[in-house]
């Protein structure tokens, strides 16, 4: 029953959120603020995680290739496929669920408990539209940029690891990442990214918006935002993979 109640509340909130903003210039200014807060501020963690994980994938692949019949170009190929298909869109989205999701839930939750959301409503402003819509829009527009950067850096990290450790030559690695490239894999990655961005921002917004109580409840909403977003990301990862790749 609780699940249905939450789903109903979430859908009603989204109905209020996706309305035309009261003032275009105010919405655009909020959107710019969110681009910085949710997007640009996430570059650091995306860069670090992508470089290192790309390197780890390349080393593990090289380590697992025992047979002389498997060419070492497979290291580049496998790293590219892993990074584009799963690592960048899903793992980075899970990382962003932790960073961005908790930020959204705690920011909106704090506004709820300190009556700032009530203040917006009595001024005649639609609070979900003013607070959540710019966050969803910014996430859905900017996360593809972050994931594109992550893909490039993941593959670069793999190349760096191969060259530094000497497991695979630079030529073999580059040959591998250029082999059997299917452009649809990028479309698939972007579809996942945009879906996950919507899940992270809307679920976290919903949990923050419905905080009741005080600082402990804000903390709880923040944790729930990360947990629920992560679970939904994994579930939708499976659904989208089944729909798009099989």
């Amino acid at each position: 029953m609780l699940l249905f109640k939450m789903l109903g509340e979430y859908l009603l909130l989204m109905f209020e959120t996706f309305k035309r903003p009261d003032k275009g210039p105010v919405f655009r200014r909020q959107l710019m603020i969110e681009f910085v807060g949710l997007g640009i501020d996430s570059f650091g963690i995306v860069v670090i995680v992508s470089l290192f994980t790309g390197a780890i994938v390349a080393i593990q692949t090289a380590y697992n290739i025992d047979s002389p019949f498997i060419p070492l170009t497979m290291v580049g190929y496998t790293t590219r496929q892993t990074v584009i298909l799963e690592f960048s869109p899903t793992i980075i989205s899970l990382v962003l669920a932790g960073k961005v999701g908790s930020r959204i839930a705690s920011e909106i939750g704090t506004m709820r408990v300190s009556e700032q959301i009530d203040a917006l409503r009595v001024m005649g402003i639609n609070p979900p539209n003013y607070l959540i819509l710019p966050k969803i829009t910014a996430s859905m527009l900017f996360n593809p940029v972050l994931i594109t950067v992550s893909i490039v850096l993941g593959i670069t990290g793999g190349w760096l690891a191969c060259v530094v450790t000497g497991l695979v030559t630079s030529e073999d690695y580059i040959l591998g990442i250029r082999a059997w490239f299917e452009p649809f894999t990028l479309t698939y990655a972007m579809i996942k990214t945009v879906t996950f961005a919507f899940i992270i921002s809307s679920v976290s917004g919903y949990l923050g918006f419905n905080v009741k109580g005080g600082s402990v409840d804000v903390g709880r909403a923040s944790t729930q935002a990360v947990v629920y977003s992560s679970i939904l990301i994994i579930i939708f990862d499976l659904i989208l993979t089944q729909l798009l790749l099989v």
């Binding site: 009261d22 003032k23 105010v26 704090t110 506004m111 300190s114 009556e115 700032q116 009530d118 203040a119 409503r121 009595v122 001024m123 005649g124 402003i125 639609n126």
Partner: protein, 251 residues
């Protein structure tokens, strides 16, 4: 003029408001008093449309408000200013941006006109050189004054204040009370204040409504409240040492 007719609000088995009817006149400072849990906050939330009463109606200058949908409430809400208990300032905005916020949302003023209006409102609440400070960088009393400046920036017809003196020292509380009272007369607003501060009651209470267990128990003004023979109200009014001494100056 705000007319409240027979409003009731029930949460589960708890009757929070029971058939409350009253009216608040324009240009007057109207106080709602009562003990904690008497229904003051729910009453005010009903008035500003944050809570929907189960029964009854609230109208602003003969315009029915409580039964309207959110979209239609918006027009009347633009005429309201609300001062929340904690100020409810937007903590990521500077003082200037906070006061400018209603102007950004509801007016077509130029930036220069908006800044002029913000400075006028801040000056009216006796604040200077705070435009660029964040709410976290100013004192509690200043926060309340900024919240008042924000509430009046769009020239509202109705001002609602939820316990404006909570957490303030008596001197600052007196300043805030005087400020609200002055602004009410100056702009001919209908002001409704929730409070349980007897100093406020005796200083600015032009009309006082006493809520007891969700019911309107007594109505009067600051000149008649000390002479009341209503036992529950007497109990409330003379519950502090200060008011007891007023009652028996020789004691």
């Amino acid at each position: 003029m705000i007319d409240v007719k027979n409003i009731s609000k029930i949460y589960g088995d708890n009757v929070v408001l029971n058939d409350v009817s009253t009216s608040f006149e324009q240009g007057k400072t109207n106080l709602i008093i009562g003990q904690s849990g008497s229904g003051k906050t729910v009453f005010m939330k009903c008035c500003i449309g944050l809570t929907q009463p189960d029964k009854g109606s609230i109208s602003f200058n003969n315009r029915e408000f409580s039964s309207l949908n959110e979209k239609k409430k918006k027009d009347i809400r633009k005429e309201m200013g609300v001062l929340f208990q904690g100020g409810a300032l937007f903590d990521s905005f500077s003082v200037e941006q906070n006061v400018m916020f209603p102007l950004n949302m509801f007016t077509t003023m130029s930036l220069e006109e908006k800044k002029e209006r913000v400075n006028f409102c801040l000056k009216r609440v006796n604040l200077k050189n705070v435009n660029n400070l964040l709410p976290s960088e100013i004192s509690g009393g200043m926060m309340k004054r900024v919240a008042i400046a924000r509430a009046i920036s769009n020239s509202p017809q109705y001002l609602f204040c939820d316990e404006p003196n909570s957490g303030l020292d008596p001197k600052t509380a007196e300043v805030i009370d005087a400020l609200i009272s002055e602004i009410t007369e100056e702009y001919n607003m209908t002001t409704v204040i929730n409070t349980h501060d007897m100093n406020s009651v005796l200083q600015i209470g032009q009309k006082i409504s006493y809520l007891y267990n969700g019911q309107l128990w007594w109505e009067g003004d600051k000149n008649t409240i000390l002479d009341t023979d209503n036992p529950e109200l007497r109990d409330f009014v003379f519950s502090t040492e200060l008011t007891r001494r007023i009652k028996q100056p020789s004691a």
